[in-house]
């Protein structure tokens, strides 16, 4: 029987399913960062708010990148349904700690897809994901640096810490 499937789609179907799940994770991260930006904005933590608004945009860009990749390679991308986004945080530090946990979870998820690509010889998708591997390491490092700054600042006022949050990444 002629291999019609391969002529229609260039990526592995299981990888496509995992990428669709990743779309949902990236969109969820975007929405979570938006909630964090809102919390910061309401408390006049201007730099943190700017930081998380940018993070929210970046995560959405990641989501769109995967979305386009799936459709461009002949697969079907599905618009994610995101709910249960928390807007309650107890401190600025907790926000950054949550953000780091989230970034680590996303990195691990990307690694799993890369491992799957290797096991099914989907080199095209693996190559596409290499950009995300590098990007995730940068994201984690940025937030780790901020948490280090919290440790170094001791009991300094929040405004002092917020002024040192990078907004030009």
């Amino acid at each position: 029987m002629e291999n019609l499937t391969r002529q229609e789609i260039s990526i592995n179907l299981e990888v496509m399913d995992m990428l669709n799940q990743q779309i949902e994770k990236e969109q969820k991260a975007s929405s979570l960062y938006l909630a964090m930006a809102s919390w910061c904005d309401q408390r006049t933590l201007v730099n943190s708010a700017t930081f998380f608004y940018k993070q929210a945009e970046e995560e959405r860009e990641h989501m769109m990148k995967i979305f386009k990749f799936i459709n461009d390679t002949g697969g079907s991308a599905y618009s994610p349904n995101v709910s249960d986004i928390t807007h309650e945080f107890s401190s600025l530090r907790e926000i950054y700690e949550t953000a780091l946990q989230h970034e680590i979870a996303i990195t691990q998820s990307i690694y799993k897809i890369v491992a799957k690509c290797r096991s099914v010889n989907d080199f095209g998708s693996e190559n596409f994901l290499m950009w995300f591997v590098e990007e995730q390491l940068e994201e984690e490092e940025t937030i780790k640096d901020i948490l280090d700054m919290f440790d170094l600042s001791g009991d300094m006022p929040l405004q002092y810490i917020d002024e040192r949050i990078p907004t030009d990444k």
Binding site: N3, T5, E8, I9, L13, S76
Partner: protein, 107 residues
């Protein structure tokens, strides 16, 4: 249905075929046969996956026992009961497993 069709997979109630000449697939639902493109087949696979969850099947079995499945950009509607839904899920799993096997054999 076109004359040249190759059987892909048969579940208890339904059968899928590939037409290499027309570059499409057919699903025989018993009372009617539906022509689907590959992307429409992918869409059916997605629906079958959504219908595979325990929550979905529990809701279906304990409440209405029927679901209206729309196919091929809403060109067709099929009414399925719970057993038919389970069979449709089998059909999609089997169809894509056979297509993958075919890809391995032809590569």
């Amino acid at each position: 249905m076109p004359l040249i069709m190759e059987l892909v997979f048969s579940s208890k109630y339904y059968t899928s075929y590939q037409s290499s000449v027309e570059r499409c697939f057919y699903i025989d639902f018993g009372h009617k046969s539906v022509k689907v493109s590959f992307c429409q087949l992918l869409s059916l696979r997605y629906k079958a996956k959504q219908m595979s969850s325990y929550e979905y099947l529990d809701q279906l079995l304990n409440h209405n026992d029927t679901v209206l499945l729309s196919l091929c950009d809403k060109q067709h509607m099929i009414l399925l009961d719970t057993l038919m839904v389970l069979d449709f899920i089998d059909l999609m799993k089997g169809t894509f497993a056979m297509l993958e096997l075919n890809a391995v054999l032809t590569s």
